[in-house]
């Protein structure tokens, strides 16, 4: 099985706050992994380290065969800026707060990075972008501005924007947490569709039933450690660790 991402034993502290205490995750092609856990468990930081928004203090991060970071002689060494830019095209990230560009139309939000970062042909990019928007159910919103859209629609644009760069792996950072409850469904449906297309995805989420339904593997994090990891039916149906049980119990209430 082809390995897309391999994280080994990464540690991360913010001052005295030791957030990640040696996390290892491996993601294979076509896998959908959900990361659950209470806030402060380190799951968002893990995602930010994987997407290079934060630099790990130690440990290694490897995309395909490229080591983005590894510990050499007790020092964490990252690739040069230039090489990192190449690696960035391997992954995409969907934010909790969407982070669309408010001054760009929906279509331009989706098209701009492929054109100005990947230097691809404008006509081809536009065709693909319209196709993506159609897939997101937003083909009639191409000329609208983000402020004219609902939260659910904005998040779907954000997903289209990430997909436009054709990443090998897509990260979601609590993609429905900022949405009104009645709008989460439309976003989850899109992610489910992507899962069916065998898109490799890592999703940090609080939607337990969604995580159970869509993932191949679930990771439960607590206090900077991976406490339990495995098949969703096992983790949700028959958790082995006491902390997992407690967390899920709190969630069901």
């Amino acid at each position: 099985m082809e390995n897309v991402l391999e994280i080994k034993d990464i540690q991360k502290s913010f001052g005295d706050n030791h957030v990640l205490k040696g996390i290892s995750v491996s993601v294979n092609k076509g896998e959908v992994i959900s990361i659950i856990g209470s806030s402060g468990s380190g799951k968002s930081t893990l995602l930010r380290c994987a997407t290079l928004l934060e630099k790990a203090d130690s440990g290694s991060i490897k995309y395909h065969d490229t080591y983005v970071a590894k510990t050499e002689n007790d020092k964490e060494v990252y690739l040069s800026k230039k090489e990192l830019n190449k690696v960035k095209s391997y992954f995409g990230l969907v934010f909790q707060q969407f982070n669309l560009f408010p001054h760009y139309s929906v279509l331009k939000n989706v098209m701009d990075a492929p054109i100005s970062v990947q230097k691809r042909d404008k006509a081809v990019v536009e065709e693909e972008a319209r196709e993506l928007l159609k897939k997101m159910g937003l083909e009639d919103k191409a000329d609208a501005y983000p402020c004219e859209l609902s939260g659910g629609q904005q998040q779907r644009v954000a997903i289209a924007r990430a997909l436009a760069l054709k990443p090998d792996i897509l990260f979601f950072d609590e993609p429905t947490s900022a949405l009104d409850p009645e709008l989460t469904g439309e976003v989850l449906k899109i992610i489910r569709n992507l899962a069916e297309e065998k898109m490799t995805m890592v999703i940090v989420t609080h939607e337990m039933s969604f995580a159970r339904a869509v993932s191949n593997r679930v990771i439960f994090m607590d206090g900077g450690y991976i406490v339990e990891e495995g098949d969703p039916e096992e983790v949700f149906g028959n958790p082995k660790q006491e902390r997992t049980k407690q967390f899920l119990r709190n969630y069901q209430q």
Partner: protein
């Protein structure tokens, strides 16, 4: 002196008033951005020095700065005083207004959410692309009301060029008022400034409207 002659004489200075106005805008707007970026520099020394300079420029009267720029080099180093007063006037105005614009820019830039930068980073934009394609356009929209404020003030501040005997409209008005012992030139000047600012208001309003396609 008839009112007509008065207006005619003062109009001669109006061209110089406009020169101060437009040249100040032309130089202060970009210079302010440079100052703002220095002010936000991660290098503590650079940012502290810039901060001090800004506080001096904002904390002392423009009139003093005009005097300092025009006559300072003469008194300190014996350089000759410029015959064409437009040069020191524009230098003083541009520096002074750049300090104000810099703080406006800084406020605007800092009001842009971290998420915009992170989105750019993940999408692979370079620093320059991030700034010019994503951040700056949003900053421009946000700071328009404050910039309009400064521009309106600038129109009135042009009269300060009198301090260094630059023959702009208000200077001429003052001379006429003095020789004719008449208050009329001040009324004429008031009308000039008001009309000037009405135009400025209109243009800036139009520009703000143009940027109103999103919020």
């Amino acid at each position: 002196m008839s009112l007509f002659t008065m207006i005619l004489k003062m109009s001669e200075g109006l061209g110089r008033t406009c020169a101060i106005f437009f040249l100040t805008i032309l130089f202060a707007l970009p210079l302010g951005m440079v100052v703002a970026l220095l002010r936000m520099s991660k290098r503590k020394v650079v940012s502290a020095v810039t901060r001090f300079i800004i506080s001096v420029l904002r904390g002392t009267p423009l009139m003093l700065q005009l005097l300092a720029v025009t006559y300072g080099p003469y008194y300190l180093f014996g350089f000759s005083v410029s015959r064409n007063k437009l040069v020191p006037v524009i230098i003083a105005f541009a520096i002074n207004y750049a300090a104000y614009f810099a703080e406006i820019y800084r406020g605007g830039i800092e009001s842009i959410s971290k998420g915009q930068y992170e989105a750019c980073e993940v999408l692979g934009y370079t620093k320059a692309q991030t700034f010019f394609k994503v951040i700056l356009p949003q900053v421009v929209k946000r700071i328009m009301p404050s910039v309009t404020n400064e521009v309106v003030t600038l129109v009135k501040d042009t009269s300060m060029a009198f301090t260094v005997s630059y023959q702009e409209m208000f200077t001429i008005g003052k001379q006429i008022a003095n020789s004719q012992t008449s208050f009329m030139p001040f009324i004429v000047a008031g009308v000039f400034y008001f009309v000037f600012n009405a135009i400025v208001d209109f243009v800036m309003g139009w520009f703000e409207k143009k940027l109103n396609y999103y919020h």
